[in-house]
């Protein structure tokens, strides 16, 4: 479903991704963990070409692109296959919560407005925000904005969803709600990649976990394996910190 | 109270020898051949008339260049004493200004493109369009002449616009004073020709704000008469226009 091969990305002198390789099967959930600044967001952003990688190949849902020879249409295709939940939400500032959800449906899926609004309201309800449908982003709390951005991505019903810390400003009640929603979706064949700092969350939803550090994938495995019995020293110390916290 | 005496404020309280009286006068500097610049010097027919008259009266002329409305503003606020720029004497203007005696007369006439063989007299202009310049008073005269409003008139901000549209045949005629037209045509080798004789003549004089500079105005009137008599103005006229415009024909 998703295959990333020898992906590299630098910002000027700073090599953020040095050689990234991994694979996700259809319907699987991959979690990415790692220290702040290790390039997790950058990796997600490379997958839909919000950052242009320097080298490597990316395959999503049958479409393989060599990042050094990529055509505009390929990028467009890749993007249509995925949806993204941003670390800082990036809600459309001039649109209400509902319009934020319907906008992409109307524009990229050519859905009639009425239908889009029906779907939009469903997803807003799912994230507990039916009553804020007509509010603009500035008047929403942090958690509310994040939920709208999750609803926006879910409503697109894409083959892959990329989540960048989707639960970071959600309270525990909501985390479990959103988790329900994500689980429910993952039973359809939506594939998901989730960058997260919440180990419990990662443990619960993922089929696979990747630990990133210093531009490489240090370790990869089933959550029970990676959290329970990490192999690499770097992973061990990270997981240890995590367990100490509890 | 012309500005002349202000010069005295710089003296050391001694005497009044060599004190030059000054006339502050305005000209647009863009009205060939009445006032224009050659190299760095302001010259032109009206300019020279005033300078000679002033010199004879013991005055020095201080020039201010501005556009026509600016000159009127300066005149009205006493920043200048008079204007030497083909200011025509009209009844309306006499209500606001006192004029010295006229130093020239402008025959107002019309030119058309030299390739135009349909317009040979003023009569032929009926139903046609004629260009003219704002503030020149020529347009006003043409309107007065064309009592039934049979000639279309287009007014322009500046002379170059009115002239160029005649050259480009966008209008059928261009109204201005004959001397100015003559000078323009000769200088620019323009493809324009006269349509008949001037239909009206206008006196040109130096305007003064009512009730000010009475002495100077009278002195200038007398001096202008003298210059008429001794042929100086005629000479200047021929130099600048190629014909004598110093008197009504």
């Amino acid at each position: 479903m998703i295959k990333v091969n020898q992906l590299k990305k630098s910002f000027n002198d700073l090599e953020v991704l040095k050689d990234i390789n991994f694979e996700v099967k259809r319907g699987e959930v991959l979690s990415i963990i790692g220290p702040s600044g290790s390039g997790k967001s950058t990796l997600l952003r490379c997958l839909n070409f919000l950052e242009t990688p320097n080298a490597g190949t990316i395959t999503i849902d049958g479409l393989t692109v060599d990042v050094e020879n990529v055509k505009k249409q390929d990028i467009q295709q890749l993007r249509k296959k995925s949806a993204m939940v941003f670390q800082n939400y990036n809600l459309f500032k001039n649109k209400t919560a509902l319009q934020n959800v319907t906008e992409l449906l109307i524009v990229t899926k050519k859905m009639p407005k009425a239908e889009a609004e029906k779907i939009g309201m469903e997803y807003l309800a799912q994230v507990g925000l039916a009553d804020k449908a007509n509010k603009y982003p500035v008047t929403l709390s942090g958690g509310q904005q994040q939920r709208v951005s999750i609803a926006r991505a879910l409503a697109l019903n894409p083959s892959v969803i990329l989540f960048d810390e989707p639960t970071s400003s959600l309270d525990p009640e909501l985390v479990s709600e959103v988790l329900q929603v994500i689980k429910q979706i993952s039973t359809k064949d939506t594939t998901m990649i989730i960058v997260t700092h919440e180990m419990d969350f990662a443990r619960e939803v993922s089929d696979n976990v990747i630990f990133m550090a210093d531009g490489y994938i240090v370790e990869e495995g089933h959550p029970s394996q990676l959290f329970g019995n990490p192999q690499q020293a770097r992973t061990k110390s990270f997981i240890q910190q995590l367990n100490e916290k509890h | 109270a012309c500005g002349g005496n202000e010069e005295g404020t710089t003296n050391e309280g001694s005497n009044q020898t060599e004190e030059k009286k000054v006339i502050r006068a305005g000209a647009t500097g863009v009205s060939y051949p009445n006032s224009y610049k050659e190299n760095d010097k302001l010259i032109g027919f009206d300019v020279e008339v005033l300078e000679i008259a002033a010199a004879n009266l013991g005055y020095e002329v201080q020039w201010v260049n501005s556009d026509f409305s600016g000159l009127l503003g300066q005149l009205e606020t006493g920043k200048i004493d008079t204007i030497a720029n083909a200011v025509a004497v009209t009844e309306e203007r006499k209500g606001k200004y006192d004029f010295a005696d006229p130093y020239s007369y402008l025959g107002i006439t019309i030119v058309t493109h030299e390739e135009n063989d349909q317009i040979n007299s003023l009569e032929d202009l009926k139903g046609k369009t004629v260009s003219g310049v704002l503030g020149s008073n020529n347009v006003k005269n043409l309107e007065a002449y064309d009592k039934n409003g049979e000639i279309g008139i287009r007014t322009y901000e500046t002379r170059d616009g009115a002239m160029n549209d005649a050259i480009n045949k966008r209008v059928d005629g261009y109204v201005n004073s004959k001397p100015a037209l003559l000078a323009e045509i000769n200088k620019g080798n323009l493809p324009l020709k006269f349509v008949g004789d001037p239909f009206v003549y206008e006196a040109v004089a130096f305007p003064f704000v009512k009730g000010t500079n009475e002495e100077l105005r009278e002195a200038l009137s007398a001096e202008v008469q003298k210059l008429h008599e001794d042929g100086t103005i005629t000479e200047l006229s021929i130099k600048y226009f190629g014909e004598d415009v110093s008197k009504k024909d």
């Binding site: 941003f86 001039n94 906008e103 990229t108 | 480009n168």
Partner: protein, 223 residues
């Protein structure tokens, strides 16, 4: 000074007859300004070096050349090079001249306005599968518009007054009419004040409309 206030007020109705031609030229020129201005803005941010270069030269040229000179060259100069332009009437020439020039200024305004839109907005559009064109249409331009409106309003108001330069081409609009009236009577103070009052009325009405529009655009940002 003998200021004739009665004369001033008597001029106002005469001047007002020329409001339509003034607005006609200003509005057409404004439309041209916005279209070409946007085009230039996109050209300047284009990856194609040629487009970028053309836009840069266009902008520097049309910002530099005095309007009067530009009108003169278009209306009197062009026909001498290409006789077909003799057919162009003065109002057309003026509208084209105003529009071409103000577009250069507008493109600078638009550039700043686009920069003021948070980068994340474009990213959210692209990641959601929109094309760049769709993103501009649906999200970026509406947000940039809020930033561009005050300076664009400046441009429109300048245009309204700038139309008076069309007098150089023999087009009489409200300022020219006032000058013509004044040159008969030499009462420039009265005529100028009358003109200023008429412009003021137009600007007050326009500003009122703009502030309504601004309130609408502000809605999503009000807390």
């Amino acid at each position: 000074m003998n200021f004739d206030i009665g004369y001033m007020f008597s001029l106002i109705p005469e001047i007002m007859e020329y409001i339509p031609i003034t607005l006609f030229m200003a509005i057409l020129a404004m439309i041209l300004t916005i279209i070409i201005g946007l085009l230039l803005t996109f050209m300047r941010s284009s990856k194609l070096k040629v487009l970028n270069y053309i836009a840069t030269v266009y902008i520097s040229f049309f910002r530099a050349i005095p309007m009067l000179v530009q009108l003169f060259l278009i209306y009197y100069g062009l026909p001498q090079l290409f006789p077909v332009f003799t057919k162009m009437d003065a109002v057309t020439a003026a509208v084209i001249g105003f529009g071409f020039k103000q577009a250069a200024f507008a493109s600078e305004i638009f550039r700043a306005a686009f920069l003021s839109v948070d980068k994340g907005q474009m990213e959210a559009c692209l990641a959601g599968g929109m094309t760049k064109v769709q993103a501009y249409q649906r999200v970026i331009i509406p947000q940039a518009f809020r930033n561009a409106l005050p300076a664009t309003g400046n441009t429109f108001i300048s245009l309204i007054k700038e139309t008076s330069l069309a007098f150089t081409l023999g087009v009489v609009e409200l300022f020219a009419e006032a000058k013509m009236q004044a040159s008969n009577t030499l009462r420039f103070f009265e005529a100028y004040l009358a003109v200023a009052l008429v412009y003021w009325a137009i600007v007050v009405i326009y500003s009122f409309l703009q502030s309504k529009l601004e309130r609408l655009l502000e809605k999503p940002y009000r807390t």
